[in-house]
C-alpha cells in the first residue's frame, strides 16, 4: 500500500468518528428542538409562519458562512461547539416544516373522532396524529440527515475535526486521493444514516419489533464505536508516556499540547515539525488543522490552541491594523511587544525564513510586457488580470500595493491558493499574488516582480504561544531548536516535496527535522 493511502487510512478512525459524533449530536438536538416546536406551531398559524420564516432564512445562509459566523458569536470559541450549533440550526427547517405540514395534513374528521371518543389533546397527538404524520416527519428527518452529514465537512475551518479535513487538506496539498477519500466517506455515511432512518420508519409502520431493535443496535454501535477511540487512544498513549517520562525534560512530559495550523501546505508541514519536537519532549500532541487565517489567531488568543506559526506582516496588517510597513526587525520587535501587552501572547521567535506576498508572472509574459517591477504594470493595468487566494484582495497589503503603483484598473480573480500557480502557468491569469516560499515559483519558472517602493511588509515566520502556553517553560524549551533553523531554501524544498512530489506533510517535516539536527 502506498504511503499516502496508508496515512489517509490511519486518520480515518479519528475523522470518521468525529464526523459521526458531530452530525449525530446536531441531528439529535435538532429533532429535540424542531419536533416539539413543530407540534406547537401546527396548532397556531401565526407561530408556524414565524418559525418557518426564521428557519428558511437560516437555511439560505451558505453553510460555510453559517459555521464561520458561529465563531465570533461564541466569543471566538472554535472547535466542536460552533460547528455543532451551526449544524443544529441547519437541521431545523426540514424537520420543522415536515412536522407542521404532516400534522396539518391530517383529516379534521380523524382529529374529531379522537376527541369525540374521549381522548385528551395529548392522547390524540401521541396515539393518532403523530403516528399518522410520521411518514412526512421522517421524510424531513432524512433530508436533514443528508444535509447535516454533508455540511459537517465544512466544520474543518472552524477547528472541528470531520471528514472535511480530508477535503480541505487534500485541496491545499493537491492530494486528490485525500479529497476523494473525504467525499466518499461523507457520502457513504449520509447514505447509511438515511437508510437506517428509513428502516426505522418501516419498522414503526409495520410494527416489526425485530427490525427496530436491529436498526437501533446498529445506530448504538455506530455511536459507541465513534466515541470509543477517544478513550482507547488516550489509554494507549498514557502507557507510552510513562516510558518516555524518565528521559524527557520536566515540565512538559505527559502534558497535552494543541498545535494549530492554517489551511495550506506550509502550515501543515510546520505543525508536523512542531509536533515532532513536542512529542520528542514527551508531550501528547493534538492537532487542529485547516483553521481560517483569523480563526487561528483567535484560537491562540483564547487558548484553544497552544501554538501555531504566523507571519509578522500578517499580524501587523490584519490584527494590529497598521497599514504602513516598517523595517522588518523593528516590525518584529514592535509586534512582539504589542502581542504580549495586548493579549499575553508570546512570540517565541522567528523560524528564519520569510514568506512574503510577491507578484509572480510567467517569465516569457513578463518579457513580453517588459515588466521587471510593479512600477512597469501601471500603464497597462487595464489589460491585466490578477489571481489571488480568497483573503488577499481583502487585505491591507493589496490595497496599499494597488494604490501605490496605480493598479486599480486591474481585474481581480479569487481562487483557491492551490490553483493559482497552474492558473498563471496556463495563462488563465496574467499574474498572481504568490507566496515567495512556494516551491512552484521555481518549478513553473515564474518571475517575482520587484517592489521598489517597499510597499509589501516583511513576512517573517514566527512561532506564537497562547497566554496559557506562555506560562509553560517546558513548551518553549521543546520548540526552541526551531528558532532561526529554517531558511527559505529549506522551506521551499519542503513545500515542493509535498506540492510537486506527493509527499505527505509529515514526511516533509521529517526531512526538515533531519536538516535542522545536522
Amino acid at each position: 500500500m502506498n504511503a499516502n493511502l496508508a496515512e489517509r487510512l490511519a486518520e480515518l478512525p479519528h475523522l470518521l468518528s468525529a464526523h459521526v459524533i458531530l452530525s449525530m449530536a446536531a441531528l439529535g438536538c435538532g429533532i429535540a428542538v424542531s419536533v416539539p416546536l413543530g407540534i406547537l406551531a401546527a396548532q397556531r398559524p401565526g407561530l408556524s409562519a414565524v418559525t418557518l420564516n426564521i428557519a428558511s432564512v437560516i437555511q439560505t445562509i451558505p453553510g460555510l458562512a453559517l459555521l464561520a459566523l458561529m465563531v465570533p458569536l461564541l466569543g471566538g470559541m472554535i472547535g466542536f461547539w460552533p460547528a455543532f450549533l451551526a449544524l443544529l440550526l441547519y437541521s431545523l427547517l426540514p424537520i420543522l416544516r415536515n412536522t407542521i405540514v404532516g400534522l396539518q395534513g391530517i383529516e379534521p374528521q380523524i382529529r374529531e373522532a379522537a376527541r369525540g371518543i374521549g381522548m385528551t389533546r395529548g392522547q390524540s397527538l401521541r396515539q393518532v396524529e403523530l403516528p399518522l404524520a410520521l411518514p412526512v416527519i421522517v421524510a424531513g428527518l432524512r433530508t436533514a440527515t443528508v444535509w447535516v452529514v454533508g455540511a459537517a465537512t465544512l466544520a474543518t475551518p472552524v477547528g472541528a475535526a470531520s471528514l472535511g479535513n480530508y477535503i480541505f487538506a487534500g485541496l491545499q496539498t493537491r492530494n486528490w486521493l485525500s479529497v476523494i477519500f473525504g467525499c466518499l466517506f461523507a457520502a457513504g455515511l449520509a447514505i447509511v444514516l438515511d437508510q437506517a432512518i428509513r428502516w426505522l420508519e418501516v419498522a414503526a409502520r409495520d410494527r416489526r419489533r425485530g427490525l427496530a431493535i436491529g436498526v437501533g443496535v446498529f445506530l448504538a454501535l455506530l455511536i459507541t464505536v465513534s466515541v470509543m477511540p477517544r478513550f482507547v487512544t488516550f489509554q494507549g498513549e498514557t502507557a507510552n508516556l510513562s516510558r518516555v517520562e524518565a528521559s524527557a525534560a520536566p515540565g512538559i512530559a505527559g502534558e497535552t499540547v494543541v498545535v494549530g495550523a492554517k489551511s495550506y501546505t506550509e502550515q501543515y508541514i510546520l505543525a508536523s515539525l512542531m509536533q515532532r519536537q513536542l512529542e520528542a519532549a514527551g508531550a501528547r500532541v493534538e492537532r487542529l488543522d485547516n483553521l481560517g487565517s483569523t480563526i487561528a489567531f483567535d484560537a491562540v488568543r483564547t487558548g484553544e490552541i497552544d501554538v501555531y506559526v504566523d507571519f509578522t506582516g500578517t499580524i501587523w496588517a490584519t490584527v494590529m491594523n497598521r497599514p504602513e510597513p516598517i523595517e522588518r526587525h523593528r516590525m518584529f520587535t514592535e509586534m512582539s511587544a504589542w502581542l504580549w501587552e495586548e493579549h499575553g501572547i508570546m512570540t517565541l521567535g522567528r523560524l528564519g525564513y520569510e514568506n512574503a506576498y510577491g507578484f509572480a508572472m510567467r517569465r516569457d509574459r513578463a518579457a513580453e510586457l517588459e515588466a521587471d517591477s510593479l512600477d512597469d504594470l501601471a500603464p497597462i493595468a487595464d489589460e491585466l488580470e490578477i489571481g489571488g487566494d480568497p483573503e488577499v484582495f481583502a487585505r491591507a497589503e493589496w490595497t496599499a500595493t494597488r494604490d501605490a503603483y496605480g493598479l486599480g484598473a486591474m481585474r481581480t480573480r479569487t481562487m483557491d491558493a492551490t490553483f493559482m500557480y497552474t492558473a498563471v502557468r496556463d495563462r488563465q491569469v496574467d499574474l498572481i499574488t504568490a507566496y515567495t516560499t512556494d516551491g512552484r515559483i521555481a518549478a513553473f519558472d515564474l518571475a517575482v516582480l520587484d517592489d521598489p517602493l517597499s510597499v509589501l511588509p516583511p513576512y517573517d515566520a514566527i512561532i506564537l504561544l497562547s497566554p496559557q502556553a506562555a506560562q509553560r517553560p517546558g513548551l518553549a524549551d521543546a520548540l526552541a531548536p526551531l528558532i532561526g533553523a529554517i531558511d527559505e531554501m529549506m522551506m521551499r524544498e519542503a513545500n515542493r516535496q509535498v506540492d510537486m512530489d506527493g509527499q505527505t506533510p509529515a514526511q516533509a517535516a521529517a526531512w526538515l527535522d533531519a536538516g535542522i539536527s545536522e
Binding site: E112, A113, I117, G118
Partner: protein, 259 residues
C-alpha cells in the same frame, strides 16, 4: 345509583349562540327514555349536529341544562363524559393506522380496563356486529368494505359499555342495500344490549323506520317531536308534512307497481 325509570337524557331549554351572534340551537327541550332511539332530523344547517355535539360537550351550550343520567354535563369533565358516551361519525372515523382490534380496544384502554376484560369485550362485540375476530381483528380499515368499517365504528362506540350512543349520519355514506341491512342489525343490537341512542339524519325514511321518537328541527328550534306514527298522522306544520312527503310518495309509487 342510576334510576332505570328516569330518562337517560333530559335536555331543558338549551341554546347555542356562536361568537358573532349566529344562533345554531334555540330553546330546545327533549327527553330520551332508556333503550330508545331518538332521531334528530331536518335540512342541512338546521342545528341537529350542533345539538348532538352539545350532549357530549364537543361544543358547550350557551344556555339551558343538559342532564345525562341525572347529572348536569356542564359540571362533568368533558373527556371523562365522552368516554361514557359512545360516538359514531359520518363515514366511519376509524384510525387508519390501527387494526380493527386496536380501534375497538381504544376506549377500554383509555378507561384502563385490564387486558383480559378488554380482549373478551372486543371479541364479543366483533362477533355481535358480524365481524368474527379470528378473521377481522388484525385487518386495517383500508382492507374493509364501507359497511364493514361502519360496523367496526359501532363496535368501537359500544366497547366502553356506554348507556348512550350519539350518531352523526351513521348510514349516509353507505349504498342502499348495505344501509338497509345495517339499520336492521343496529336495532337488533340495541334490543340486545339495551343502550339508548341519539341519531342525526337528514333522511326522513331512515328516521321513520328506525326511531322510537323523532324530533324535526328548523332554524335551531324543534318544530315537532313525536313517534313516527304521531308524525305521520298529524304533522304539526306544512314544513313537517313536506319532509314526510318524500317517503310517502316513494311508498305509493312502489305499491302502484302492483304487488
Amino acid at each position: 345509583m342510576i334510576d332505570p325509570a328516569a330518562p337517560v337524557l333530559d335536555i331543558r331549554s338549551v341554546g347555542k349562540t356562536y361568537p358573532g351572534g349566529v344562533e345554531a340551537v334555540r330553546e330546545v327541550s327533549l327527553t330520551l327514555e332508556r333503550g330508545q332511539l331518538l332521531a334528530l332530523t331536518g335540512e342541512s344547517g338546521c342545528g341537529k349536529t350542533t345539538l348532538l355535539k352539545l350532549i357530549n360537550r364537543l361544543e358547550d351550550a350557551s344556555g339551558g341544562l343538559i342532564l345525562y343520567e341525572g347529572e348536569d354535563v356542564a359540571s362533568l369533565d368533558p373527556v371523562q363524559l365522552r368516554r361514557r358516551i359512545g360516538w359514531v361519525m359520518q363515514g366511519d372515523g376509524l384510525f387508519p393506522h390501527l387494526t380493527v382490534l386496536e380501534n375497538v380496544a381504544i376506549i377500554p384502554r383509555l378507561l384502563d380496563w385490564n387486558p383480559e376484560r378488554t380482549r373478551s369485550r372486543v371479541a364479543d362485540l366483533l362477533d355481535m356486529v358480524g365481524l368474527p375476530s379470528a378473521e377481522y381483528a388484525e385487518r386495517y380499515p383500508v382492507e374493509l368494505s364501507g359497511g364493514q368499517r361502519q360496523r367496526v365504528g359501532f363496535a368501537r362506540a359500544l366497547a366502553g359499555e356506554p348507556d348512550l350512543i350519539l350518531m352523526d349520519e351513521p348510514f349516509s355514506a353507505l349504498d342502499p342495500i348495505t344501509r338497509d341491512g345495517l339499520q336492521q342489525e343496529f336495532r337488533a343490537l340495541q334490543a340486545d344490549l339495551g343502550f339508548s341512542a341519539v341519531m342525526v339524519t337528514h333522511d326522513m325514511a331512515e328516521a321513520l323506520i328506525m326511531a322510537d321518537q323523532i324530533a324535526v328541527m328548523q332554524d335551531g328550534a324543534i318544530l315537532q317531536q313525536g313517534t313516527p306514527v304521531e308524525l305521520l298522522q298529524s304533522p304539526a306544520s306544512d314544513y313537517v308534512s313536506g319532509l314526510l312527503e318524500t317517503p310517502r310518495r316513494q311508498m305509493r309509487a312502489i305499491r302502484e307497481l302492483g304487488a
